[in-house]
């Protein structure tokens, strides 16, 4: 289970492209995953290991929102990446 203390970063052995509001990620085997909205910004911020709590705070500041408003969505998105095997997690 992901928490604020979980440290996440994207796997280095992936192919990806980011456009405004759109992210496409592929594994070398050719499995493709697409996401929308803030996905490109989150993907950019997890290029290095980052605690989820820090990530949520940074995104909240970027979008001028309260961290509590976005925490659930961010963790949900990251959970999807974990389930797809695209993320490394140090819980």
């Amino acid at each position: 289970m992901l928490t604020d203390d979980s440290i996440v970063n994207r796997r280095s052995d992936l192919l990806w492209r980011a456009a405004p509001g759109h992210l496409v990620v592929a594994t070398v085997d050719g499995d493709v995953h697409q996401a929308h909205g803030a996905a490109p910004e989150i993907w950019n911020r997890i290029a290095r290991p980052v605690p989820i709590g820090e990530l949520v705070e940074a995104l909240a500041a970027s979008y001028e929102l309260d961290a509590e408003q976005i925490r659930t969505d961010v963790i949900g998105f990251l959970g999807g990446l974990v389930a797809a095997g695209l993320l490394e997690v140090d819980a």
């Binding site: 052995d13 492209r17 456009a19 405004p20 759109h22 496409v24 592929a26 070398v28 050719g30």
Partner: protein
């Protein structure tokens, strides 16, 4: 080959997007009407320009209805998926070729996108993988790829034709992923003049999925881009953009390209490629390579050969341009291969 249709202003504006020195004030007058939206989107998809077009629509450089903007954006997003799928295919191909000990270089799409498009990486999309193989490693590369399940879309005309005269082969893998395996940059007169071993004396590299991929050097990328624009695919603008991008953004040492081209006696292709890029994109940008290109004297024989390609003549006509460039003792075998292909069972 040349697309004979007039180039719509919106497509040209999209293809120029981001080039230094290009005046975008003109763009305020460029709009896509509902009447021509379908045609422009289709041509943008065909020419892999949806990234440039969608971005130009998003920032208002080109005006269109919301429906057109949405359609262009959706097309771009689909192209992005194609691009990463092809990069994954490129990595799998790289493993096969490396394991087989093949000397090779990635070229065109992914190579240009990563090394030459910088902050427009996502806009430069592509739909296949292009690889140059060292001539001596051609049979090894085919055997390794065949063993991995890839197959040629067209057989070799006659045994030995590819190695001596051919441009290469298109191979198809699972999910119809397409790999263009090149021995040369072109068929015909300019293809058989090439000494492809030269491009293996230097390389750039990119990293895809933590795998180091050898890529044609920048001057050789320009050389290939000029061949593609003048002698290659049915592309109106993207190939022109690649040439302009290499010169204006990557600031390639174009003199090195010309030096190689002179050694191969294909300098006419480079001159025509640079001149055509400026013409098709209607660039009003001073560049020494362009000055050289427009002042370069192309021989009548070279000009005739180029016109066979730009006039969209058949494969056979284009291949026949090689005859005057071949040693006399190779001409009979070459003509036999074109006139009476003898395909081997292994190729079918």
């Amino acid at each position: 080959m040349t697309d004979p249709r007039p180039i719509p202003a919106a497509l040209r504006t999209a293809a120029r997007r981001g080039l230094p020195g290009v005046d975008l004030v003109e763009a305020s007058t460029v709009a896509i009407s509902d009447d021509n939206a379908g045609d422009i989107l289709a041509r943008a998809r065909f020419d892999r320009l949806t990234g440039f077009l969608a971005s130009a629509l998003a920032d208002g450089t080109i005006e269109a209805t919301d429906a057109t903007i949405t359609a262009a954006t959706d097309a771009w997003h689909a192209s992005l998926a194609d691009a990463v799928i092809m990069e994954a295919f490129a990595v799998r191909t790289a493993r096969l070729l490396d394991d087989a000990g093949v000397r090779w270089r990635l070229t065109k799409g992914a190579a240009l996108a990563h090394l030459d498009y910088g902050n427009q990486l996502a806009e430069r999309t592509f739909g296949d993988v292009d690889v140059i193989v060292h001539p001596d490693d051609w049979p090894t590369s085919l055997a390794a790829l065949s063993e991995a399940g890839l197959h040629r879309t067209a057989p070799e005309l006659r045994p030995g034709y590819d190695r001596r005269f051919g441009k290469g082969a298109t191979l198809v893998g699972a999910h119809d992923h397409e790999l263009d395996l090149h021995l040369r940059f072109a068929i015909g007169r300019f293809g058989v003049r090439a000494r492809m071993e030269d491009v293996f004396e230097r390389a750039d590299e990119i990293e895809l999925a933590a795998h180091v991929i050898p890529v044609l050097s920048a001057p050789d990328r320009l050389l290939h881009a000029c061949h593609h624009l003048v002698l290659g695919g049915f592309s109106a603008l993207r190939a022109a953009r690649d040439v302009a991008q290499l010169l204006l953004v990557s600031e390639v040492t174009w003199e090195a390209t010309v030096e190689t081209a002179r050694g191969w006696r294909v300098d006419a292709v480079v001159a025509r490629g640079i001149a055509q890029a400026w013409e098709r994109l209607e660039l009003d940008v001073e560049h020494p390579a362009h000055r050289w290109a427009v002042g370069h004297a192309v021989s009548r024989a070279d000009a005739r050969a180029i016109s066979v390609f730009t006039d969209n003549r058949s494969f056979r006509h284009q291949a026949l341009t090689a005859v005057p460039a071949l040693p006399w003792h190779e001409v009979p075998a070459y003509l036999r291969a074109l006139a009476a292909p003898k395909r081997t069972a292994a190729d079918t």
